[in-house]
């Protein structure tokens, strides 16, 4: 065993170990079961549920393990729950989709588990190396998953695009990290913070900040690093698009918070300015581009770009409240975004691709519950109460105002008003247009369950979010930043 790693560290790694073992198990189960069996899906769900259960003992833990490589704290826990819930919902909506697409599950579920593992490591990593390994694990899994529908040209194109741009951005990120290491002599973020604390502002470090922001900006799809998102979102299998836009984005935000809040608090003036500009540009460009989209997946891609812009407001605020707001937002965003994609999955039938806005025409007659669910997701994404999206936005804007960024909040609310225009357009098609032809959309039991969960969550966290707010506060408080953030302010 390497020095400094204790046997007890493995106890704290229990959820990750369960997930890893489970992922391998799924790979074996896949070989043993006959083709067309849904056993793999059940095995995957069981693994994810077991991982979720394995998180339970660590509900109030706050330790650093493995010689400072990983933090097991409530901040990481919060994100892990988000990832696992998103993964479960993704698996549930995948099963019918793969059958319609005629793709054999193969390594599909295994890769979803791997991506989830990578995300979990990103959330816990307080060392540049650990975080980067987590990021790579996630990214490589996604490269394959995006191109999983092999006969589909769009899917292939998306995968190649995502891979090339992804590799490039990882290079930039790695370069920034190496500068950080070179200047501090350590890869541990908390040690780095103490090294930089007393120092003069080093121009090289500014360069490192720029590089890291660019690299991570790619993963969260912030403008101007967003070019890949619409094409990849449109081409990827719909459940993977959903997982990408929720899980991958949340994980990148977790890593971003760790690096900047824990590792570079001394540079906060620089990165806050950068994120302020990024936030404004990202939400404005995202929303304006979404206005003209006729393809639902592309529209949701641009809308998710805009949402990254809102989320960046929490980073700009750089207060425990800002972080808590981001956690709340990422949590509720997961449900509404996954729900919206579940509707698109449902619209995919043998004879209809179903990802154009006009494919939803007259949905309220053909499938009233789906139309109502989609209405709810659109309103929630737009931030209309009493949905969960409103509570999330409320707190993001609140954090910005609290930290003195009133203009940022003003731009934010005006943006959310603009965004309603394209969300409402979806509603117009569903409720105000005559129905189209094509076979009736049918929700498989797994898909119906996904929709039910996301609908209930979207309403419940909008009407009665008290528990979520408490958990987010506690989690934000554990970002090893209680002390660091007060130094910032």
């Amino acid at each position: 065993m390497p020095p400094g790693v204790l046997l007890t560290d493995f106890y704290y790694l229990l959820p990750e170990l369960v997930l890893t073992a489970g992922a391998l198990l799924v790979l074996i189960v896949d070989v043993l079961l006959p083709r067309g069996s849904r056993g793999v899906m059940w095995a995957t769900l069981a693994v994810l549920a077991a991982t979720l259960a394995a998180l339970l003992p660590f509900a109030a833990t706050n330790v650093v393990i493995a010689n400072g490589l990983l933090a097991v704290d409530q901040f990481a826990l919060f994100f892990k729950v988000v990832f696992l819930v998103a993964a479960i919902l993704t698996v549930l909506m995948s099963v019918g989709y793969l059958e319609v697409e005629g793709a054999s599950p193969g390594e599909y579920y295994f890769l979803i588990l791997c991506a989830t593992l990578g995300m979990m490591i990103m959330a816990g990593g307080i060392d540049l190396i650990t975080s980067f390994i987590g990021l790579e694990t996630m990214a490589v899994s996604f490269y394959v998953l995006v191109g999983f529908i092999k006969p589909n040209q769009r899917s292939n194109e998306a995968a190649v695009k995502y891979f090339l741009l992804g590799a490039f951005s990882l290079g930039i990120l790695l370069y920034g990290m190496s500068v950080m290491y070179g200047l501090s002599g350590t890869t541990n973020l908390r040690a780095m913070a103490t090294v930089f604390a007393g120092q003069e502002r080093d121009p090289l470090l500014v360069l490192a900040v720029i590089l890291v922001v660019s690299g991570l900006g790619f993963k969260i799809a912030a403008v101007p690093f967003h070019m890949w998102a619409p094409d990849v979102y449109e081409g990827a299998p719909t459940p993977i698009t959903a997982f990408l836009s929720v899980g991958s984005k949340a994980a990148a935000f977790a890593m971003l918070l760790r690096i900047f809040m824990e590792g570079l608090p001394s540079m906060n003036a620089d990165w806050r300015l950068m994120f302020e500009v990024l936030s404004i540009v990202t939400m404005t460009v995202g929303n304006l581009a979404a206005l003209t989209q006729s393809n639902l997946k592309r529209m949701l891609a641009y809308s998710s770009i805009a949402h990254a812009g809102y989320l960046l407001m929490g980073v700009v605020a750089a207060t425990p409240r800002g972080v808590a707001a981001m956690l709340i937002y990422l949590f509720v965003y997961g449900f509404m975004q996954l729900g919206a994609f579940a509707i698109i999955v449902m619209m995919r039938r043998r004879d209809v691709i179903g990802d154009e806005v006009k494919d939803l025409s007259g949905l309220h007659v053909r499938h009233p519950f789906a139309a109502f669910a989609m209405l709810l997701f659109m309103l929630s994404l737009g931030g209309i109460p009493p949905t969960a999206g409103f509570m999330g936005k409320l707190w993001l804007f609140g954090a910005a105002i609290d930290a003195g960024y009133v203009w940022l909040a003003v731009i934010g609310v005006l943006n959310s008003a603009v965004s309603l225009y394209y969300y409402i357009r979806v509603v117009v098609f569903m409720y105000l247009r005559k129905e189209t032809t094509g076979s009736e959309p049918v929700a498989s039991p797994a898909l119906a369950f996904t929709l039910a969960v996301t609908v209930v969550a979207t309403i419940a966290f909008g009407v009665y979010p008290r528990l979520l707010f408490q958990l987010a506060d506690a989690s934000a408080g554990s970002l090893g930043l209680g002390g660091i953030l007060t130094a910032i302010r």
Binding site: F397, I424, P465
Partner: protein, 523 residues
Amino acid sequence: MNYYLSIILFTPLVGALLLLFVNKQNENGIRWIANIVALLGFVVAIPLWFWYDPQDAEFQFVERASWIPSIGAEYFLAVDGFSTLLILLTTMMGSIAVLSSWSAITERVKEYYIFLLVLQTGMLGAFMALDFLLFFLFWEVMLVPMYFLIGIWGSANRLYSAIKFFLYTLVGSVVMLLGILALYFYGYSVTGVYSFDVTQFQGMNLPFDLQWWIFLAFFLGFAIKVPMFPFHTWLPDAHTDAPTAGSVILAAVLLKMGTYGFIRFSLPILPEATRYFVPMMVVLSIIGIVYGALVALAQKDWKRLVAYSSVSHMALVMLGMFALNPVGIAGSIIQQINHGISTGALFLLVGVMYERRHTREISEYGGLSKVMPVYAAVFLVMTMSSIGLPTLNGFIGEFLILQGVFVANKIWAVFAASGIVLGAAYMLYLYQRTMFGKVDNPKNEKLLDLSGREFATFAPLIILAVWIGLYPAPFLRRIDSSVQRVIARVSPQYVPGNAGATPAPPAEVAAATTGQSQAGAPR
């Protein structure tokens, strides 16, 4: 613990949930249930009139429960005289709107009534909530059902009008939300406790520059809803294209959200900014009065004419409010109720004709008083009420507003009076063109007069119009405490025992108001 307000609040919502489980083919069953629920909503609210104690200056029927404790948001409902009247108006107009839709709505009946009932709960909640976040929640909840009412059951240009209504209101309200948040964080910096409690903000003295900003943020939210010139352009479209019941609710209740917001929030929480912005508010109101009336005079579309008359009348309400004296504010409140009654009735009347003839062109009509005498009589009463003929309700409101405005500034009063004269002109001109003369359009010869059901929608409105016109004292008594609460903040020189004082500097205002708010905090 008293759950009375919650019962009023959620009766329509429970009805909407009930409707979800009715088969949508069973249209008459749905109509009966919706009517019974809406009437029940009114009936359960009636005791509010009797149980509300006008002598007690504090908020009554208080309900408080923790909602999101970590941010200090509460489920906090309470009413004073002003909101009592608005709640009664809302439940009454709600049941009238539901009743008036019986034969007008033949498509997607179930969804229609569900949206109408959900809208009802949203409006009631906004009038009851004294927690700012809760208020905002209900305020936004109104948006979606109204959007659907216009967008699905509206006339020709409905999609455009619906989205225009939606986006206009939304922009105003999200900016207002920022004002609420600014207030909230300021409140925390003073008291050290996170809270959205409106009564607490009403006792606070904010620095002027903060008041200035928050006033503008609230102004955008409320002025769009009123709607004040130049934010009124959504209103004629929304009114014209909305189904009758939608127009009735929009005119009678939704527009009151804006004026309610000013009186409940802007004036008492931001008194110095209010005084500072009086010139701007007055100028916009005067433009609204004259412009709205002139445009109404030029309309060829019956419903659009009534819509523009709304712009003019609501501007008069705003002018009375910003006279910032007890008479003006009392007049402003009474006139809001009157506007709800008379304009609501006028939209109903247009709806009755539209259902028979499917046109709103004034030139299509003429001489209707011979064919439909009862209709013409009802229309006459409501026209007179709208003009402000003595013995009817409109007179009381307009008289009080004029009196208040005259005390504040005689020039303003001239403009206000000119609006009333113009109002008489366009309403009488409309009446003349549609009701008098020869029946020269053969399509109008065989029109049926009001049915029993239709008359039932007008009867309560006529009774109220006469009641307020002849004996407004019970209404004025009920709003007295609301007026005093506002006056104590914005114009303390009118507070009894404080006479002759000039508008007090902040410290004195603080002394005057803390004295009052300590008298019995509504906890």
